[in-house]
């Protein structure tokens, strides 16, 4: 990449907003464990943008918009945050029994226009948009991008509070608890867009460990009328689930188009 590292990482973090570049990279978080017992329970989470899942080999994921939600819905603390050359990492102490959520949520604008016959591209917040993008530029196209990346970990018995959707953008509404996934059994989920069932959405499911197999073994599913889809896990492992939609329901007035993406990492136990 010719871009400075931090900028490149930020750009890649918004990869869901870039339909062209999205092919090659995958953004993910990987918890050290998702099912835990005992007292003084910690998880450490790696976060990166890479081609192979779940190997850190391309860019770290920026943690600026990281939120931790404790089982009772209160904000949790992401400790020992660090960003290295290829990955970011942070720790969460699971003080409460139940299910925690770690989420990196982005919302921003993407603009493209022509300037003196040249293509210009811009990415940023609505506040910066006002001063940095010429409103009367030829062929100006403004897209709102929303992306949400989440992982779930449970200490003791799974709980549901953190699974409640926020009603903004594309979200996963689990029917089967995301920390209760076992080989051979069917898991059901729903995708919601702004809190309503998202039907006809293409969902990608890929098991980690890509580097050590020839075939990607990717699963592509389409959500039903109620936004639902089901996966029967054939093998244990960490799975990456990704989906995105495009529509014209931008919630920011400057934008005419909206792109909403979601990804999560789910652990399936033997």
């Amino acid at each position: 990449m010719r871009l400075p590292n931090r900028l490149a990482a930020a750009a890649a973090a918004l990869v869901l907003a870039l339909p062209i570049a999205a092919e090659a990279h995958r953004a993910w978080m990987l918890p050290s464990a998702t099912v835990l017992s005992g007292k003084d329970v910690w998880v450490t989470v790696d976060a990166a943008i890479s081609n192979d899942l779940f190997f850190f080999e391309h860019h770290p994921l920026r943690l600026d918009n990281l939120q931790v939600m404790a089982p009772d819905g209160s904000p949790g603390k992401a400790e020992n945050q660090a960003t290295g050359r290829y990955r970011s990492t942070f720790d969460v102490k699971l003080d409460q029994p139940g299910t925690y959520k770690m989420a990196v949520v982005h919302s921003g604008l993407f603009a493209s226009w022509k300037e003196n016959g040249q293509n210009r591209r811009w990415r940023g917040t609505p506040a910066r948009f006002a001063t940095e993008v010429p409103k009367d530029a030829p062929e100006l196209r403004v897209t709102q991008s929303q992306s949400r990346m989440e992982v779930f970990v449970t200490s003791g018995k799974p709980s549901d509070t953190v699974l409640k959707p926020s009603g903004e953008g594309l979200e996963l509404a689990p029917v089967t608890h995301p920390n209760d996934l076992v080989v051979g059994s069917e898991a059901r989920f729903r995708f919601l867009l702004d809190g309503k069932p998202a039907s006809g959405v293409k969902v990608t499911v890929i098991r980690g460990g890509i580097r050590y197999r020839d075939n990607l073994e990717e699963l592509t599913l389409t959500t039903a009328e109620d936004g639902g889809f089901a996966v029967t896990w054939k093998e244990p492992g960490m799975y990456w689930i990704e989906a995105s939609v495009r529509d014209d329901k931008a919630s920011i007035k400057e934008a005419s188009q909206r792109r909403a993406g979601y990804s999560t990492t789910l652990e399936v136990l033997p």
């Binding site: 835990l36 017992s37 007292k39 329970v41 136990l269």
Partner: protein, 170 residues
């Protein structure tokens, strides 16, 4: 034991037989490995749909300070998912220290403890072992409760468990 009244005979029919009992032998194999830790073992009774009908025993490292041994309870994955995560450890009459290699006996009377409230039906004895830096193994033996006749059934593990036998007596 509740008192028996003839008027309650009809009601009593649906209740578990009280005289029967159940004996289990669990063998923990002696392993020749560089780093050996005694396995965590959970013993329970499951219904045909694999839900847990009764917990019989949980052997884990109860001696570690601050109950730190609970950290690895989740390695008995099936048990943890189906019932362990609902319990608080240590639990009276259920949890006890890990056992050394060899044969260990457990026996349960039908009129006391976990079996007293077990409705008649088809069940499976489930035994799951998980060893630190080792493997995990699970064995099952089907049985009927209350038993019609004295019976013994066996299963054999391949790495984390040795011989497992279940004897029931009416």
């Amino acid at each position: 034991m509740r008192a028996y009244y003839p008027a309650m005979a009809g009601l009593m029919l649906g209740l578990p037989a009280s005289a029967a009992d159940l004996a289990i032998k669990v063998e923990i194999p002696r392993l020749s490995v560089a780093e050996y830790h005694r396995p965590y073992v959970a013993v329970w009774i499951e219904r045909p749909d694999q839900s847990v009908a009764a917990n019989l025993a949980v052997w884990y490292d109860v001696k570690l300070k601050n109950n730190e041994g609970t950290k690895w309870l989740k390695d008995m994955r099936q048990w943890w998912r189906k019932s362990g995560r609902e319990l608080t450890m240590p639990a009276d009459g259920l949890s006890s220290p890990t056992r050394a290699p060899g044969e260990h006996q457990l026996s349960f009377a039908g009129d006391k403890g976990p079996l007293a409230s077990l409705p008649p039906g088809q069940y499976r004895l489930a035994v799951e072992a998980a060893r630190e830096v080792g493997g995990r193994e699970m064995l099952r033996i089907p049985f009927q409760w209350p038993p019609k006749a004295a019976e013994t059934a066996a299963a054999k593990g391949e790495h984390e468990l040795g011989q497992l036998s279940l004897s029931v007596r009416p």
